[in-house]
Each structure stands twice: as structure tokens, then as C-alpha cells.
């Protein structure tokens, strides 16, 4: 409840003209938005585009948010929709593109990665996460990376806690098996 109150205050401050409040909202949620988009799109630049779109939507539309759900639930829905639309758009774009075969490689060299080791780790994690069905990947990322509780994930996604636990279990099992295979 306290968390909702804090978000409520931030939104109110922003709507009263305090742009620092927007920055706080961005600081609080941008990592989650990024990783959700990254999980769906598997590319830094694509994820970055979705992140900026989502934040721009927030900036423009926060005045319409009425706190019937938590702020993150709203952000999550926008992120999920935008990521999905981006995927579709990309598919259409690739179709129209003259060199449609030349689709940007996942984890391309252009990606902003500080060092080779981190790049390798990211690639490995990405490859493993990509073997998971979307639902499992989503729950795993929200729980492991974002530190969300099952209750919070259930609120954001509209899924049952039991179903989420089962999805996480299967995700963890597959990830462990995959790691073991590679060792």
C-alpha cells in the first residue's frame, strides 16, 4: 500500500509540474521496462526503442492514470503491448525491406557491451532464456531480475499465483538443466 502511495505522490507531483518526479518514476521503473522489452525482443537497440516509447507514453498520458491498478501494472501493460507491436512491426518491416534476409542478428556486434566477458554472459543467459516459453520467461525475469513477489506479478499480469509458481518452477528447471548441459 505504501508503495502505491509513493507512486501516487510522484504522479501527483509530476502533474503539478515537477519534472523531477517524472525522473524518479523513470529511475524506479525503467530497468523493469528495459528488461521486459529485452526479454521479448532480444536486442538492446530494439529494447531501447520500446523503453523510450513507453516512457514517452507515460509522460504524455500519466494524467489519465486513475490508480485503479498499481502504476507498475499500467506500465507493464503498456510495455507488453508496445513490445508485441514492435515485434509485429519489425516483421512487417522486414517483409518490405529490400534486403529482408539481412535481418539484424541477435546480440549483434553493435550492441553496447562493455567487455567481452559480459557479452558472453549476456549471450549465454539470453540463449537460455530464449528456450523458455514466453510465460515462463516473463515470470522468471520478473521474479529473479526484478525481485517482484508472486503477488506483485499476479497483479501486473492478471495471472494466478499458483500458475505463476508453476511457470517459475518449470523455467528454473529448464535453466538449471541447460546450464548443466553446457558445463
Amino acid at each position: 500500500m505504501e508503495k502505491h502511495a509513493e507512486d501516487k505522490q510522484l504522479v501527483k507531483d509530476f502533474l503539478d509540474g515537477d519534472e523531477k518526479a517524472f525522473k524518479k518514476i523513470v529511475d524506479k521503473y525503467s530497468r523493469r521496462i528495459y528488461w521486459h522489452a529485452f526479454g521479448m525482443l532480444n536486442d538492446h537497440f530494439d529494447a531501447d526503442e520500446v523503453v523510450q516509447t513507453v516512457l514517452l507514453v507515460l509522460y504524455k498520458k500519466l494524467s489519465t492514470f486513475n490508480f485503479e491498478s498499481s502504476l507498475y501494472t499500467w506500465i507493464y501493460k503498456i510495455t507488453a503491448t508496445r513490445s508485441l507491436n514492435y515485434l509485429r512491426k519489425k516483421k512487417i518491416k522486414n517483409f518490405f525491406s529490400l534486403d529482408s534476409d539481412n535481418v539484424k542478428e541477435m546480440y549483434s556486434k553493435e550492441n553496447i557491451i562493455l567487455d567481452v566477458e559480459r557479452s558472453e554472459k549476456l549471450k549465454k543467459v539470453g540463449e537460455i532464456l530464449n528456450t523458455l516459453p514466453t510465460k515462463q520467461r516473463e515470470v522468471f525475469m520478473m521474479k529473479t531480475f526484478e525481485g517482484m513477489t508472486y503477488e506483485e506479478i499476479a497483479e501486473a499480469t492478471g495471472k494466478s499465483v499458483g500458475g505463476l509458481k508453476a511457470n517459475y518452477f518449470h523455467a528454473l528447471k529448464k535453466i538449471t538443466e541447460k546450464y548443466n548441459e553446457e558445463d
Binding site: 525503467s30 516512457l55 509522460y59 494524467s63 503491448t81 509485429r88 531480475f145 509458481k165 517459475y168
Partner: protein
């Protein structure tokens, strides 16, 4: 040596064990030799992943995001008055009117609503979709095949949902879904995708 029950450990991490079962398992792990170091390996893997999550992308990336977005908003306000926007908007309106005229004899519920749309509604819609504006202009200008796509986009923007929905945040989703879904479905129907 006691073989540990990996399945149980995974269940514990998944929250599928009750508190008492998890406690019991923890105790038995403390007292066992855990021959394959399964728990620590699992924890290492998760820590590894978390570390990537916390360190990627570059630290400045998140730091600069809000400024980037705020300057984009400012940019979008000024770009409303730039020739490229005006040009694209003018073309968009022409294409839209043409598509409406072409569809005049085949009035269905969509075009009925579409006929209600006027230039200022369209302008409002396009300005709402500013992020897609460059792409939109590019699509209209670049290729005649894509002109069909642009026409389709314009004649199926779902003014129904756009101008009649009561919830603004609902509109956001509907806008995207109606436009994108319509294009996507049409391409699928035409067996292009």
C-alpha cells in the same frame, strides 16, 4: 553420501513448498554433504544472471533516460511545425480522403465511423502517434506498394475506438492494437505473411 533431491530444491526456489517443508529441506541440506553442490551451483547461476541484469546496459543508460524522453517531448512539440511533418500530414490527409472516396460504395461499420473523421481528428491522431511519424512519412513516400499499406493504415485506424472510448489509457492500447492488428491481419489474409 546422501543424494540431494534437486526437484525439491527447485520447488523451494519456486515457492511450491510450504514454509515448514522449505524449512525442513534447508535443515536437511545444512546437515547433508550436498555432494553435487546443487544448491550453491543454483545460487551461483541465479547470482550470475542477476549480475548481468544489474550491470547491463551501461550504467549511464538508465541515468540519461528521463532527459532523453523529456527532450523527445520537446522535440515532438516543435516538429509539429517542421515542413517534413506538414508534408507528411498533408499527404496523409490526401491519402485518407482518397481511400475514403474509394471505399464510398462499400460502407461498412468501419468506414461509417471513418467517414465521421475529419482533418483535425486525423491531425490529432497523427500527433498522438508522433513516434511513428517518421516511419509513417517514409512509408507513404518511399514505395507504391507501401502506399497501399499506408492507405490501409489510414482507413483502418479505428476512429470508433479512438474517439468514442471513454478511458484515455484504454485508447492507447486500442490505437495500437486496432492499427497494428488490422495491418497484420490483412497481410495474413492476403497470405503475404
Amino acid at each position: 553420501m546422501k543424494k540431494i533431491d534437486e526437484e525439491k530444491i527447485l520447488k523451494m526456489y519456486s515457492g511450491l513448498l510450504s514454509d515448514s517443508e522449505a524449512e525442513e529441506l534447508k535443515n536437511s541440506l545444512d546437515n547433508s554433504s550436498d555432494p553435487e553442490n546443487f544448491t550453491s551451483r543454483l545460487e551461483d547461476e541465479l547470482t550470475d544472471m542477476k549480475e548481468i541484469y544489474q550491470n547491463y546496459p551501461e550504467p549511464n543508460y538508465f541515468h540519461n533516460l528521463s532527459n532523453t524522453v523529456i527532450s523527445k517531448v520537446e522535440e515532438s512539440k516543435t516538429s509539429m511545425f517542421q515542413p517534413s511533418f506538414a508534408y507528411a500530414l498533408a499527404i496523409a490527409i490526401v491519402v485518407f480522403v482518397a481511400s475514403q472516396l474509394m471505399n464510398f460504395n462499400t460502407v461498412d461499420s468501419n468506414s461509417e465511423y471513418a467517414a465521421m473523421i475529419n482533418a483535425s481528428d486525423l491531425e490529432e491522431y497523427i500527433s498522438d502517434q508522433l513516434l511513428d511519424m517518421d516511419e509513417f512519412a517514409e512509408v507513404i513516400i518511399s514505395d507504391s506498394n507501401e502506399l497501399d499499406y499506408a492507405e490501409y493504415l489510414l482507413s483502418n485506424t479505428g476512429p470508433t475506438e479512438m474517439f468514442q472510448a471513454s478511458e484515455e489509457n484504454e485508447i492507447l492500447n486500442l490505437l495500437d492494437e486496432s492499427v497494428e492488428e488490422a495491418i497484420f491481419n490483412e497481410l495474413v489474409n492476403k497470405k503475404i505473411l
